[in-house]
């Protein structure tokens, strides 16, 4: 039995993420159970962690820090035990060194980089970047396997992460310039888009995540 924790820190649509993971699990082998929790002990004991997040960067960062022992428990699960981790949207952006939404807010700094406002060219392109865009894999990754040609995924965001190291970018998309769509480093994986809302392609990505065993 694979146990996956969805971190509930008061931000993000944990219900949609959970249901999408449960559906994705049906397509795979092996049993998967999901829990929604903010309990550090539980997070240390699970086989994988998903960190959702929507809304304001500073609010999400504060909510995460305000839960005692939460960040330390995730850190231990990921970096000591090598458990796979997936951040979604702001849940991915929190991995960066800092975010620039309204003010400079420190992130977890597990992947060096910053989160800045989208500035598409030409400047009349609307922000938020909202809707279905093409995912372009730039570094092959097990979580992005088998998506076929020109897969579409659902984005809705005004800020995006720019990793310091080019090799941390797993996939990008184009919207008046290149945008980081997915990041990966060791057991860490993150998507700017919403796999839980990306229909069949999103289901495949979540199924890949459930089957992923970071080496």
């Amino acid at each position: 039995m694979t146990r996956i924790a969805i971190v509930d820190y008061g931000s993000g649509n944990v219900r949609s993420v959970r249901k999408a993971l449960e559906r994705a699990a049906l397509s795979g082998t092996g049993n998967v159970s999901t829990i929604v929790t903010d309990d550090p002990d539980e997070l240390r004991s699970v086989d994988g962690i998903v960190l959702p997040g929507v809304g304001h960067y500073a609010d999400c960062a504060t909510a995460l820090r305000n839960r005692s022992g939460l960040i330390e428990a995730i850190h231990e699960a990921v970096f000591t035990h090598g458990r796979p981790f997936m951040g979604i949207c702001v849940g991915m952006q929190l991995l960066a060194t800092f975010g620039e939404e309204d003010q400079i807010t420190p992130g977890l700094d597990w992947i060096s980089g910053s989160v800045g406002r989208l500035r598409p060219t030409p400047s009349h392109l609307p922000v938020p970047h909202m809707g279905w865009n093409t995912l372009i894999t730039v570094n092959d990754h097990p979580v992005l396997a088998g998506l076929g040609d020109g897969p579409h995924v659902y984005f809705t965001h005004s800020y995006a992460m720019t990793p310091l190291e080019e090799q941390d970018i797993a996939a990008r998309t184009d919207y008046g310039g290149s945008i980081t769509a997915a990041i990966a480093r060791g057991p860490l994986f993150g998507t700017q888009f919403h796999p839980e809302k990306s229909q069949a392609i999103g289901q495949r990505i979540l199924a890949n995540f459930l089957n992923w065993r970071p080496g």
Partner: protein, 261 residues
């Protein structure tokens, strides 16, 4: 490249779809979840639920509709109707919605848009703007209406859009009440005027009679998405027909494709 979105809209009252729905192969056309499932498999880019219930009990039914839909349709969902406060928005989002539309509350107190954006993020805040053309001659003008298009707010629609965008709206759902139900096509001048003042995406609504109208809303009106209700529900236009017409007009769409293994 970002694709133009095609969005079927379901009017829901007491947990049931109200506008007549004639869908082949649908056991219960009054069940919004069955309808959502059908549109999901047709490749709709998003779904929009508008709650036209007046009662508190009906509101609970709407939440349940969102939960049941989100539990099995893994696609973006927008919910509107009766949303007054940032906490109302949170309730809808936690049930499984991705975006929440506010209408009357934003007209009465535009600053509520800022409070909502701060609470749930700008990308989740849709301001639904219902407008009618003013009767004066000369350059067209539009006024904002509330209460399902019955009550004039005495506000210029284009100025209102400019204002709510600056306050934190993440998207504008722009409905021409003049065109709604006429099947004469979207109000293209309205869309163009809104496009000029809005830095956020615009969803065209009201007047779709065929797939060509949808293409016009995109390539002439400058809309980012098109919304329609009855022509989809009655099977007059399918989601894929709409997308093909938009593609023929030169705008990018996401056409359904089987996932490879």
């Amino acid at each position: 490249m970002l694709k133009v979105r095609v969005i079927p809209c379901l009017d829901v009252k007491d947990g049931r779809t109200v506008k007549g729905v004639q869908f082949v192969d649908l056991k219960d056309a009054g069940d919004p979840v069955s309808l959502a499932r059908a549109y999901d498999s047709q490749g709709a880019d998003e779904l929009c639920f508008l709650d036209i219930t007046a009662s508190v009990e009906g509101r609970g039914a709407m939440l349940e509709v969102i939960e049941r839909t989100a539990d099995e349709c893994f696609m973006p969902l927008t919910v509107g109707g009766g949303v007054r406060t940032p906490d109302d928005m949170v309730t809808m989002l936690r049930a499984g919605a991705d975006k929440v539309a506010i209408n009357t509350a934003a007209v009465i107190e535009p600053e509520i848009v800022s409070a909502c954006a701060r609470k749930v993020g700008r990308q989740a805040v849709v301001v639904a703007v219902d407008v009618r053309r003013s009767p004066e001659s000369g350059d067209p003008k539009w006024g904002v209406y509330t209460h399902g298009g019955r009550r004039s707010a005495g506000i210029d629609a284009i100025e209102f859009i400019r204002n709510v965008v600056s306050l934190g709206a993440g998207e504008i759902l722009l409905t021409s009440m003049d065109r709604d139900g006429t099947k004469e096509g979207y109000d293209l001048q309205l869309l163009q005027a809104a496009r000029r003042v809005s830095s956020v995406p615009i969803i065209a609504s009201g007047g779709a009679g065929n797939a060509e109208h949808m293409a016009q809303a995109i390539v002439v009106g400058g809309a980012d998405a098109v919304l329609a209700a009855s022509i989809f529900h009655f099977g007059e236009v399918s989601v894929s027909e709409a997308k093909k017409a938009i593609a023929r007009a030169g705008a990018p769409v996401r056409l359904p494709r089987k996932e490879t293994s």
